[in-house]
C-alpha cells in the first residue's frame, strides 16, 4: 500500500534557446498522501517550472527530457495527452500566481467554473452550476451568487484568487499545486487567503505542493520542505529539522531573511 501520492524522480526540464538553460536539473522528491510539501527558493530557481513539468505544461523551447513522475502508479511523463487531460484539473489541479491574468477576461466566472466541471464530470449544466456555486461559497466569496455572473475585471485581486482556488477544487482533486498563491496580493489579503487555505487543507483532505519564495509562509503552511536553488533541490526534509539545523548556507540565508523564525 503506497502512502505516496506523488513521486518525482530526477526530473530534468531544459530550455533550448541560443544556449541550453537547465531550468530543472535533476529534481527528486516524494509527497505523502495528505501532506503539505513546500518548495521554497528565490525567483528563477525553477520552482514554478517544476510544478508545470508535473502537469506537462511546458511549452517549446522548453522540454522535459528526463525523469519520472509517478502518480497513482503511472508515470505522467510517459502518458498520452488524452489521459493527461483527464488528470489536469480533476485529479491534479494548479492555482497560479497572478490572479489578474489567470482568468479569461471575456468569459464570466460562472462560465469558466462550469467549463471546469463539465470537462471532467458527466453531469448536466444545472448540476454543474450548483457545484460551481457551492465551491464559490466554500472559498468565502461574499455575494458568490452575483460573482457567478461577473467578469474578471469587475473583481478584486483577492476575490479573483479565491475564484482560481475554487476552480481548482471543484472537481475534488487529490493533489493541489499552489504556485505562489499570495505573492501578487496585498499583505492583508495574503493573510486572508492563507487562512482560507488552512481551512481547505483541513476540510478537503488534499495533498499539496506549496511553492513560495517566502520561508515565513512556507513555515506556516507546510510539513515537509524542499529548498530549491538553480534547478536543484539542495536540502530537503521535515520543516522543523530544516529550520533548526539548516545544512546548507543558502538555506541559512533564506531563513535569516525571515525574521519571524528564530
Amino acid at each position: 500500500m503506497n502512502d505516496k501520492i506523488l513521486e518525482v524522480k530526477n526530473l530534468k526540464t531544459y530550455f533550448y534557446t541560443s544556449q541550453v538553460i537547465r531550468a530543472v536539473d535533476g529534481v527528486s522528491f516524494d509527497i505523502k498522501k495528505g501532506e503539505v510539501f513546500g518548495l521554497v527558493g528565490e525567483s528563477g530557481s525553477g520552482k514554478t517550472l517544476t510544478a508545470l513539468s508535473v502537469l506537462k505544461l511546458i511549452n517549446p523551447p522548453g522540454k522535459t527530457i528526463d525523469g519520472q513522475i509517478i502518480f497513482d502508479g503511472a508515470d505522467l511523463l510517459k502518458m498520452d495527452e488524452d489521459s493527461l487531460r483527464d488528470i489536469r484539473g480533476s485529479r491534479i489541479s494548479i492555482v497560479f500566481q497572478d490572479p489578474s491574468t489567470a482568468l479569461n477576461p471575456v468569459f464570466t466566472i460562472g462560465y469558466q467554473m462550469i467549463e471546469a466541471v463539465l470537462a471532467h464530470q458527466k453531469v448536466n449544466r444545472v448540476k454543474a452550476k450548483g457545484l460551481s456555486l457551492e465551491y464559490l461559497n466554500k472559498v468565502h466569496i461574499g455575494q458568490h451568487k452575483k460573482v457567478f455572473y461577473d467578469y474578471p475585471h469587475q473583481l478584486s485581486g483577492g476575490t479573483k484568487q479565491r475564484v482560481s482556488i475554487a476552480m481548482a477544487l471543484v472537481n475534488s482533486p487529490e493533489l493541489l499545486i499552489l504556485d505562489e498563491p499570495t505573492t501578487a496580493l496585498d499583505v492583508t489579503i495574503q493573510a486572508q487567503i492563507l487562512d482560507l487555505l488552512d481551512e481547505i487543507i483541513k476540510e478537503e483532505h488534499l495533498s499539496i505542493i506549496f511553492i513560495s519564495h517566502d520561508f515565513g509562509i512556507i513555515a506556516r503552511m507546510c510539513d515537509h520542505v524542499g529548498v530549491m536553488y538553480k534547478g536543484r533541490i539542495i536540502e530537503q526534509g521535515e520543516k522543523y529539522d530544516i529550520i533548526k539545523n539548516p545544512k546548507e548556507s543558502y538555506t541559512r540565508n533564506l531563513l535569516e531573511s525571515v525574521k519571524a523564525l528564530s
Binding site: 487531460r85 489536469r88 497560479f96 489567470a102 482568468l103 479569461n104 471575456v106 468569459f107 470537462a119 467578469y151
Partner: protein, 326 residues
C-alpha cells in the same frame, strides 16, 4: 454600452468639423479661384455658369462666411450641380452608392471568411505548409498593384478562358433573364471586382489575425485553460480566439477608407457604374462639385464604418460593455 455609443457620437462632432475644414482647404488649394482654372480653360462655360459657380462657392464673400456656407451645405449634403451635366451632385452620387456599397460589403465578407481563418491557421500550425504558403501570399499580396492584378485576371478569366465577363454589372441581354438569371448575371459580373477589392486587405487582415492569435496564446489564462484539462481545440478556438479577434474588429474598421478609395481603381477598370467610377470621371473632367461631393461622402462613410466597428468592439469586449465597476 449605450453610454459608450453616446460618448462616441459626441466625439464625432469635432471630427466632422475637422473634415469640413480640410475639405474646404482642398477646394481652395487651386491658385486663384476654383472657378478660374476650370472655366478659363473651358470656353463652353458661359458667363451665367461662372456666376452660378461663384455663388455656389460663395467666392464673392469673405473667407469665414464661405466656410460657414460650406459647413451648412456639407451638413445638408448640398454639393451643387455637376459641371458635366448640370445635374444635382447628390442625386448622381445616390445613384452610384448602392453598387459601391454592395461590392465593398461583399469584399468585407470575403475578407472575413478567408482572411481570419487563414490568420488563425498560420498562427496555430506555424510550421505547416499552409502557414508558410500564406506568409508568401501575404507578402505578395502587399506588394501587388491592385490594378495590375485586375488586368491579369481580366486577361485570364475574361479573355483567355472566357469564363467571366469583364465589364459592367449586367450583360447586354439582361432584360430577358429570369429573376434567378438576373441575380446570377450580376453575381458573375461581380466576382472579379469583389475579388480584386478584397485582395489587398486580405493579406493585411490575415497577418494581423495571426499576430493577434500568437500574442493571445502566450497569455496566462491560456495556461490556466490547459491546466484545467481542456482540449486543445477548446483552448484555441474558444479561449484564445475570442480574445484574439477583438483587435481585428478595430482593424477592419480602419480598413474601410482603403476599400472605399480602392473602388476608384477597380470600378474604372471593370466599368462598374459605382461611386468610385463617378469619382474617376469627375477627376478627369475636373468636375469640382462632384469631386468635393464624393470626397465628403467618402469621409462620412468612413466615419460611419469606424463607428460601426467601434460599436461591434464594445459589444464583443465585456471590459467595454460596462463602465468598469472595479
Amino acid at each position: 454600452m449605450v453610454s459608450y455609443i453616446i460618448r462616441r457620437l459626441f466625439g464625432l462632432v469635432p471630427v466632422f468639423f475637422g473634415i469640413t475644414i480640410i475639405s474646404f482647404f482642398v477646394i481652395h488649394l487651386a491658385p486663384g479661384k476654383p472657378t478660374d482654372i476650370q472655366t478659363s480653360l473651358n470656353p463652353k462655360v458661359s458667363y451665367e455658369a461662372r456666376l452660378r459657380l461663384e455663388r455656389l462657392y460663395g467666392l464673392d464673400k469673405p473667407a469665414y462666411l464661405q466656410y460657414l456656407d460650406w459647413v451648412k451645405r456639407f451638413a445638408t449634403l448640398n454639393f451643387g450641380s455637376s459641371y458635366v451635366d448640370d445635374r444635382n451632385v447628390l442625386d448622381k452620387i445616390k445613384e452610384r452608392i448602392p453598387i459601391t456599397l454592395l461590392i465593398n460589403i461583399l469584399s468585407l465578407i470575403l475578407i472575413l471568411c478567408i482572411g481570419i481563418p487563414l490568420g488563425i491557421i498560420s498562427a496555430v500550425k506555424r510550421k505547416s505548409v499552409l502557414a508558410r504558403l500564406s506568409t508568401v501570399f501575404v507578402f505578395i499580396g502587399f506588394s501587388t498593384p491592385e490594378f495590375w492584378l485586375a488586368l491579369l485576371l481580366m486577361n485570364l478569366f475574361g479573355i483567355s478562358l472566357g469564363l467571366l465577363p469583364i465589364s459592367g454589372i449586367k450583360s447586354l441581354d439582361f432584360e430577358y433573364f429570369t429573376l434567378t438569371g438576373k441575380i446570377l448575371d450580376v453575381a458573375r459580373h461581380l466576382i472579379l471586382p469583389v475579388a480584386i477589392a478584397a485582395f489587398g486587405s486580405l493579406a493585411g487582415i490575415s497577418r494581423y489575425m495571426r499576430s493577434s492569435m500568437i500574442g493571445t496564446i502566450r497569455q496566462d489564462f491560456i495556461r490556466t485553460a490547459r491546466a484545467k484539462g481542456l482540449s486543445q481545440s477548446q483552448v484555441l478556438y474558444k479561449h484564445a480566439l475570442k480574445n484574439a479577434i477583438l483587435p481585428v474588429i478595430t482593424i477592419m474598421g480602419l480598413s474601410i477608407p482603403g476599400l472605399i478609395g480602392g473602388s476608384v481603381i477597380f470600378e474604372s477598370i471593370f466599368a462598374i457604374p459605382g461611386m468610385g467610377r463617378l469619382f474617376y470621371d469627375s477627376v478627369m473632367a475636373r468636375d469640382y462639385p462632384t469631386i468635393m461631393g464624393i470626397l465628403s461622402i467618402g469621409a462620412i462613410l468612413t466615419l460611419l464604418g469606424n463607428l460601426l466597428a467601434d460599436i461591434a468592439y464594445s459589444y464583443a469586449d465585456p471590459r467595454m460593455r460596462m463602465t468598469g465597476n472595479d
